[in-house]
C-alpha cells in the first residue's frame, strides 16, 4: 500500500528530535540567558524520528495524547524548529492545526473568511473569487453576517475547514480538525480531501480516531512517547495501536508514569519501556475457553488466504476449555481493511447454544458463495460470556483481534464494490417492430 521509495518524496524527515525546555519559574529563563548555566528541565517532545512521504500519499498519524503528534506537525509546518535532525519539504504546504486560525469570535463570519484567507496567504482578490464556494461548502449562507461566536462548534468547524481547504495546496496538514463536524459534513470533508489528493497533493492527517485514519489513509504512522513506533498499512498499525490502548488501560497508572519519566533527559534509559509493540497483544481473555484454531476454507476444505467473490467459503473454528457457563457467545466479525465491519456472525442468532464446555468442540460456518466485494478483510473470532448485557473484561474468554486475513478479488470487470450482490437480469423488448 505504501508508496515510499519508488515515487518522489515530498516530505523527508531524518533523525528529527525536539527538546523543550521547561522552566519552573519565568525568572529562570532570564537567569539562564544571563549566566549561561542551564536552569531548565529538558523534555523530549520527539526523539529520533525518520520517515519520508511520497507525492500524493495520504498518511494518518495516530498516537495517544501528548505522544508527540502535534509536535511533529508543528515541525513539519516550520512553526517550531527541531533541536536536531533534518526536515526537507519539497512543495508548498497548507495546514489546519487548529480550527479557525486568525478567526476572531467577535467578528462576523464574512470578515473571518477574509481574515482566515489572508492568514493562509491569499490576496483579497483570490478570497473574493472563492468566497461563494467557501460559503456554499460550509452551508452557512444565511449566517455569514452574524458574529462567529454565535456559531455552534460544528458550524465553526465547517467554516474553518472550508476556508482552509479552498486553496488547493500541494501538501495539506490536518490536525484533528474534523472532529467537531456532524457526520454529513465529515463525509464532505473526506470528499474534499480525496479531491485534493486526486490532484496529486499529499495529505498528513492526525487523529485519535483510528476509524477515520483507516477510512482516509493509505499509510499510518504511530507515534508513542516521542518516537515513531510503527509505519505501515493503516489496518495493521491501527490494530496494534488499539491493542496498546487496551493493554495500557489495564495498568494505566504505571504505564503513564513510565512514559512521562522516559522523556526527561536524566531518566535511567534502562528503566524505560521503549518498545510498546512488545506490550501489544492481539489476543486477550480469561482463557477458560480458548479458540485453538481458526481457518478459512474453500469448498474442498483447503485453507485459503485469497479468494474470488462468489466462491464458496467456509470458516472452521475449534475451541477447547472448561467452564460451567451456559450461553456462551461465539462471534466472528469480518472487518474490511478501512475499518468498516463487513459482516458479523453470532451463534445465538443461529439458534445454536454453546456451553457448558468440558473438552473441545468444532464449529463450521458455511458462508455459501462469498458476497464480499474486492478488498482485504480481517477476521476477529471471539468467545465471551453473555450474562450482563454489557461485555466486561472478565467476561471475555478469548478474543482474537483481526488476526486472520483474507484477500478477496473480483473475477469480472474491475469495479470497486462493497458487496457482490446476487442478481438476475431480465430483459425484454417492448413493442419494437421487427
Amino acid at each position: 500500500m505504501t508508496k515510499t521509495g519508488a515515487t518522489l518524496s515530498v516530505i523527508t524527515v531524518d533523525g528529527v528530535s525536539k527538546r523543550y525546555r521547561l522552566y519552573s519559574r519565568p525568572i529562570d529563563r532570564i537567569i539562564e540567558f544571563v549566566t549561561g548555566r542551564a536552569r531548565h528541565q529538558p523534555y523530549w517532545g520527539l526523539r529520533d524520528v525518520s520517515f519520508s512521504i511520497g507525492v500524493g500519499e495520504i498518511v494518518g498519524v495516530v498516537g495517544r495524547n501528548g505522544a508527540g503528534k502535534s509536535t511533529l506537525l508543528r515541525l513539519l509546518t516550520g512553526i517550531s524548529t527541531p533541536t536536531s535532525g533534518d526536515i526537507t519539504i519539497r512543495a508548498r504546504m497548507s495546514a489546519i492545526l487548529e480550527l479557525g486560525s486568525g478567526f476572531h469570535p467577535e467578528l462576523s463570519g464574512r470578515e473571518n473568511v477574509y481574515l482566515g484567507g489572508a492568514v493562509l496567504g491569499m490576496s483579497t482578490a483570490e478570497i473574493e473569487a472563492r468566497y461563494d464556494g467557501i460559503v456554499e461548502f460550509a452551508e452557512l449562507g444565511p449566517y455569514m453576517d452574524m458574529p462567529f461566536k454565535t456559531y455552534s462548534l460544528g458550524m465553526q468547524a465547517r467554516l474553518s475547514f472550508s476556508v482552509a481547504s479552498c486553496i488547493d495546496p500541494e501538501i495539506m496538514i490536518i490536525d484533528e480538525a474534523l472532529g467537531a463536524g456532524d457526520g454529513a459534513f465529515i463525509a464532505k470533508c473526506f470528499e474534499r480531501i480525496r479531491q485534493i489528493c486526486a490532484g496529486g497533493a499529499t495529505v498528513v492527517f492526525v487523529s485519535h480516531n483510528t476509524y477515520l485514519v483507516q477510512r482516509l489513509c493509505q499509510r499510518a504512522l504511530w507515534i508513542d512517547q516521542g518516537r515513531l513506533v510503527a509505519d505501515g498499512d493503516p489496518a495493521t498499525v491501527c490494530r496494534d495501536y488499539e491493542a496498546l490502548l487496551r493493554s495500557i488501560s489495564q495498568d494505566e497508572a504505571m504505564a503513564r508514569n513510565r512514559a512521562a519519566m522516559s522523556r526527561f533527559e536524566d531518566a535511567d534509559p534502562t528503566a524505560v519501556d521503549l518498545a510498546p509493540l512488545s506490550r501489544i497483544s492481539h489476543r486477550w481473555g480469561t482463557g477458560e475457553v480458548r479458540i485453538t484454531s481458526f481457518e478459512v476454507l474453500d469448498g474442498e476444505n483447503h485453507p485459503l488466504t485469497a479468494v474470488f467473490s462468489h466462491q464458496r467459503v467456509r470458516l472452521r473454528l475449534e475451541y477447547q476449555g472448561d467452564t460451567e457457563d451456559r450461553d456462551l457467545a461465539l462471534v466472528v466479525t469480518i472487518v474490511r481493511e478501512d475499518g468498516v465491519v463487513a459482516a458479523t456472525f453470532d451463534n445465538r442468532e443461529a439458534g445454536i447454544s454453546i456451553g457448558p464446555v468440558h473438552g473441545s468442540g468444532t464449529v463450521v460456518l458455511d458462508l455459501g458463495p462469498l458476497l464480499l466485494g474486492k478488498g482485504r478483510y480481517l477476521f476477529s473470532p471471539h468467545i465471551y460470556r453473555d450474562v450482563h448485557g454489557v461485555v466486561r473484561a472478565e467476561d471475555v474468554l478469548d478474543f482474537h483481534d483481526r488476526l486472520y486475513e483474507l484477500t478477496v478479488s473480483r473475477s469480472g470487470r474491475p469495479y470497486d464494490v462493497a458487496v457482490e450482490h446476487p442478481v438476475a437480469w431480465h430483459h425484454s423488448l417492448d413493442g419494437q417492430a421487427q
Binding site: 523543550y20 525546555r21 519565568p26 529563563r29 532570564i30 508543528r74 509546518t77 516550520g78 512553526i79 517550531s80 524548529t81 519539504i89 508548498r92 504546504m93 497548507s94 495546514a95 492545526l97 487548529e98 486560525s101 486568525g102 476572531h104 467577535e106 467578528l107 470578515e111 477574509y114 481574515l115 489572508a118 492568514v119 493562509l120 496567504g121 491569499m122 490576496s123 483579497t124 483570490e126 486553496i167 488547493d168 495546496p169
Partner: protein, 277 residues
C-alpha cells in the same frame, strides 16, 4: 490562475529576504491592522470613530491645558496658536511612539494562536500596531496642517521636511516594534517596565517646552533622547524653525541600526516563540 501560500519555511531564507517579506505580505498587514483597530472598538456604538476621537481629545486636552491654563508661549508675546501648533506637532509623534511600543510588547502574546498553530509570517505582527498608530498620526497631522493654514495663511516649502521626518520615524518605529515584540514575548515584565519608562520619558521629551529654554545639564539629558531630533524635524515642517540636521542624521542612523538589530532580535526569538508562548 496561480495560488500563493504563506511560506512557512521562510525562516530559512536570508535575512534581507525575510525583511522584504513584510512588503510581500502588505495586504495581510493592512487587514490585520484594521482587524486590531476594529476589535478594540467592537460593540462600542461609536465604533471606529473612537480611533479618531481618542487621540484628538488627548492632544486637544493637553494643548488647551498648556496654552490657555498655564499660558505657556514659545517666546514672550508670541501667539498662543503658535504654541498650540508646537505642542500638537510634538505630541503626535510621541503618542505614535508610545502606542507602537505598548502594542508591540503585547501583540505576540495576544496572537498566540497564530504563533503556535498557523503558518503565519510572524514578522508582520509587531508592525500591525505601527500601521494603526501611523494612521492616527496622519489624521492628526492633517488636522495640524489645516490649523497651520489658518494661522499662517499660506503653504510653506518647509512642509517638505515631513518627507524625511516620516521616513525616519517609520524606520525607527519598525525597529522598536520588532525589538520590543521579541523581548516582550519572552519576558513579560518588559510591559510593566515600559509603562514606567514611557511615563517618565514624556517629561524628557521636548513636547511642551523647547530644549533651548532648559538648564544646560537637563538639555544634555533631553538631547540624548532619540525622539528630540525627530520632533525638531516635525516642528521645522510646521513652524518653519531650523531643524537640527546633525541630530536628524544621527537619528536616521540610529533608526537604521535599531531596524536591523530589532529584526535580528525578532528572528532569533521567532523560532522559539511557538515553544515559549
Amino acid at each position: 490562475m496561480t495560488w500563493r501560500y504563506v511560506d512557512g519555511l521562510d525562516r530559512d531564507a536570508p535575512m534581507w529576504r525575510r525583511m522584504a517579506g513584510v512588503w510581500v505580505h502588505r495586504a495581510l498587514l493592512h487587514r490585520m491592522a484594521l482587524r486590531d483597530v476594529r476589535l478594540r472598538y467592537v460593540g462600542a456604538s461609536l465604533g471606529l470613530w473612537w480611533a479618531a476621537i481618542t487621540p484628538l481629545l488627548f492632544v486637544g486636552a493637553y494643548t488647551l491645558l498648556f496654552t490657555f491654563l498655564f499660558r505657556a508661549r514659545l517666546n514672550p508675546g508670541a501667539s498662543p496658536a503658535e504654541y498650540a501648533l508646537y505642542v500638537v506637532t510634538g505630541l503626535l509623534p510621541w503618542v505614535a511612539f508610545t502606542e507602537v511600543a505598548t502594542r508591540a510588547t503585547q501583540t505576540m502574546a495576544e496572537h498566540r494562536n497564530l504563533v503556535k498553530f498557523a503558518m503565519f509570517p510572524l514578522q508582520v505582527l509587531p508592525l500591525t500596531g505601527m500601521y494603526a498608530a501611523m494612521l492616527s498620526q496622519v489624521a492628526g497631522l492633517i488636522g495640524a496642517l489645516a490649523f497651520s493654514l489658518i494661522i499662517h495663511g499660506e503653504v510653506s516649502w518647509s512642509l517638505l521636511w515631513l518627507v524625511p521626518a516620516t521616513f525616519a520615524q517609520l524606520v525607527f518605529l519598525a525597529g522598536t516594534a520588532w525589538f520590543l515584540g521579541a523581548v516582550g514575548a519572552v519576558i513579560r515584565d518588559v510591559r510593566e517596565v515600559l509603562q514606567i519608562v514611557l511615563t517618565a520619558g514624556m517629561f524628557f521629551t521636548p513636547i511642551f517646552y523647547r530644549t533651548d529654554d532648559l538648564p544646560l545639564l537637563v538639555a544634555r539629558v533631553v538631547g540624548l533622547n532619540p525622539l528630540t531630533p525627530l520632533l525638531g524635524a516635525y516642528r521645522a515642517a510646521f513652524l518653519g524653525t531650523a531643524p537640527d540636521l546633525v541630530g536628524l542624521a544621527i537619528f536616521a542612523g540610529f533608526s537604521l541600526v535599531l531596524l536591523v538589530g530589532g529584526f535580528i532580535t525578532f528572528e532569533r526569538v521567532r523560532s522559539e516563540l511557538s515553544d515559549i508562548l
